[in-house]
Amino acid sequence: MFGLNKKDTSLLIIVACLTMFAPFILNPFPTDSGLAQFNAGYPDLMQRFVIFGIFAIGFNILFGLTGYLSFGHAAFLGVGSYSAVWMFKLIGMNVIPAIVLSVIVAGLFALLIGFISLRRSGIYFSILTLAFAQMSFNLAYSVLTPITNGETGLQLTLEDPRILGVSATADGSIPVTNLFGLEMRSTFEMAVGPWAFQFNAGYYLCAFIMLAAFYLSIRIFRSPFGMMLRAVKSNQQRMNYTGLNTRPYTLAAFVISGMYAGLAGGLMASMDPLAGAERMQWTASGEVVLMTILGGAGTLIGPVLGAGFIKYFENIFSKINDNVLHSWFSFMPDGMEDAVVFLIHPFIGKGWHLTLGILFMLVVIFLPGGLVEGGQRIKGWLSGRKAKDDGKAAGETNPAE
C-alpha cells in the first residue's frame, strides 16, 4: 500500500494509530489518581512529542543514513521558527504560509551551511556545523536583533500589519494562529468516568504532518537515493571509484534534513507564536543527536521513539518533587521514608538530566542499536529462538529497517 512493502505499511499504520489515539494512550491514569502526573496526554506535551519526532526523523535521514553527524541542526529549527513568526506578523495568522516559508528558508539556509561544511567529513564536519549553529545563535542575539528581537525573542504585537488578516481582534487582543479559521489552541475535552481526554486541533495538525514526514522518510529510506546514502556511510572511496559523486548526495541529505528541522520549527511557532534564539543553541542541537541515537540511528521508527522518550522525561520526571515522593512512600516508617526520598532525590525534579544521562549511557553500551534494538530483543525472547533467527535473516535483507 502507498508504494510501501507490507512490513513498512504495517509500521506506518501502527504509528498512525498511536498518534491518532495518543490523547487516550498517553492518559491512562484517572485525573484524580496519584499517578495522574504521569499522564502525558495534554496538548502542549503531545505537540512537542510529534514536533520533535519530525525533527529527529529528518536528522536521521542525514545521520542515520550517511553517518555525517551534524551538531548544528537546531539552527535550522530556529530559522524555521523565526520565519513562521514573521509570516504571522506580516501576512496573517493562518499556519499554512508560515509552515511553507519555514521549510523553504530552512532549506536554503541548510544549502548554504551544508555546501561549506560538507567539504570536510568526520569530526571536522561536526565542528563546522557546530560553529555555524553557534554563530547563528550569537548573531540572533546581537547583530540580527532587528529580525530576531534579540534576547526578548520575536513575538506578535498589536501593531503588526498582517495584511491578509487583522492587527488586532475586535476585543483588542492579538489574533491566534489558525488553519483556515480552526484555532490551533481549540481543544475538545471528553470526560469518560474519572478520565478526561483532550483533543487539540494543533496537536492533530502536527500529528498529520508528522505522519506525512514519516511516510516520506520511509520512501527515502527505500529509494535508490537512500541506498546511495547508506553506501556513502559504508565506503566513500568505493563510491568515488564507482563513478558516483558523493557530494551532491550528502548535500541533498543535509538539505532534506534541514527542511525537516525547519518544518519542526515552523510548527513550534504555529502552536505558540514566538521564537527565541535559545532554540538554536548547541544544547538543542545535541538533544536531537541524543534522540536519534537513543531511539536507534538508521532505523525508521527509532528517532520518533527517542524523541518521545526524552520529551516525556523532560516534562514528567522533572515535575516530581520531594513532596510527591513523600506522598508515595508515606506508607513506610518515617526514618526509612526519609532515607528513600533522600536516595531518589538526585534523580528527579531538576535531576532528571542525571536519570536521562544514565539511561542514555546504558542504552549506548548495552543496546548500540537503541530502543529499537531493545524492542527487537524483547520480541526475540518472547517468540523464542526460531523467531530470533528469522529476525536476523530479515535484518540482513533490510539493514535500514
Binding site: 512493502n5 520512501r219 537515493f225 537512500g226 546511495m228 568515488n240 571509484y241 558516483l244 541533498a252 539493514p399
Partner: protein
C-alpha cells in the same frame, strides 16, 4: 595508439622521485601487466591514472582524452574501473545492493536524486545485478552482508562490481596479494574468462609471476620509478636486465 597512453609522467613525494619519465602504451583488448620490485612506483602510477594523484609532469590520455585534473568519479565515468589492493566494497550493504550500486552509476550517471521510487521497482537494475552475481558464482550469497564474506569472495564481488559498469579499461592492483593458492587460481581463471569474453582492456599490477605469465600478453617492468623494458612475456623471462632488477631477487 593504445587505449591508454602515458607520456613522460613524473611524480615526486618530497625528496623522493617516485616516478620519472614513465611512458606506457596499453593496447586495446590486451592484458598488460606492470611488474617491478617493492617501492618501484607501480601503485603510484595507478593512482595517477584514476585521479587519486595528479602527476607533476607528463600526460595521461584515455581513448584520446586527458584524464588529468578530473575527479576519480569523472574518470570512472569515462570507462576506467579500478580494483584495489585490499577489496573496497560496501561492507554494511548486502551483496546484491553492492552489485546494484555500480549498475545505478552506469545508468544514471554521477548523481541522480531518485528519492521516491522504491529500489525494488528498479527491475532493470535488479536484473542486471542478479545476472552479474550469477556470473560471479555468488548468487547464493545475495542477501549476505558483504563484510561477512571471505577475502576471496570480496575480491570476486569487487571485480563483479567493476564489470557491471561495463568499463573499457579495468585496472587491478595486486588482486591476488595475500590469497591462498586456490583463490589465486580462481582469480586467474576469472580474469582470463573476462578478457576472453568481453570487449575489455586489463592492466594488472602483480608480484606473483605465476599470475603474470598466465594472463599477460604484454609486460612493463618498472624499477625505481622508470620503465626498464616493455615487451612480450616470453622475452621478459629471458631478459637479463629484468632478471637483475627483479626476477633474480624474487626467484
Amino acid at each position: 595508439m593504445g587505449i591508454l597512453e602515458v607520456k613522460d609522467v613524473g611524480k615526486r613525494f618530497g625528496g623522493l622521485q617516485a616516478l620519472s619519465d614513465v611512458n606506457l602504451s596499453v593496447k586495446e583488448n590486451s592484458v598488460h601487466a606492470i611488474i617491478g620490485p617493492n617501492g618501484a612506483g607501480k601503485s603510484t602510477l595507478l593512482n595517477c591514472l584514476v585521479g587519486k594523484l595528479i602527476p607533476d609532469t607528463g600526460s595521461v590520455m584515455f581513448d584520446g582524452q586527458s584524464v588529468l585534473g578530473r575527479a576519480p568519479y569523472e574518470i570512472n565515468q569515462m570507462g576506467i574501473s579500478r580494483v584495489f589492493q585490499t577489496p573496497e566494497i560496501f561492507g554494511d550493504l548486502t551483496v546484491l545492493e553492492n552489485m546494484m550500486i555500480p549498475c545505478f552509476a552506469k545508468r544514471d550517471g554521477a548523481f541522480e536524486l531518485n528519492a521516491l521510487s522504491s529500489v525494488l521497482r528498479q527491475k532493470d537494475i535488479l536484473q542486471k545485478a542478479e545476472h552479474m552475481l550469477e556470473e560471479m558464482n555468488m548468487a547464493d550469497k545475495r542477501h549476505m552482508h558483504a563484510a561477512a564474506m571471505s577475502r576471496g569472495d570480496k575480491r570476486r564481488l569487487e571485480i563483479g562490481m567493476c564489470l557491471s559498469q561495463e568499463p573499457r579499461l579495468l585496472l587491478l592492483d595486486e588482486p591476488t596479494a595475500g590469497m591462498a593458492r586456490a583463490d589465486t587460481n580462481n582469480t586467474i581463471d576469472l580474469l582470463k574468462q573476462i578478457s576472453d569474453e568481453r570487449d575489455i582492456t586489463i592492466a594488472i599490477i602483480e608480484h606473483d609471476m605465476h599470475v603474470v605469465f598466465s594472463l599477460a600478453n604484454r609486460i612493463t617492468v618498472l624499477a625505481q620509478g622508470t620503465p626498464l623494458v616493455e615487451d612480450d612475456p616470453q622475452n621478459i623471462r629471458g631478459n637479463p636486465k629484468v632478471r637483475e632488477a627483479y626476477l633474480g631477487e624474487s626467484a
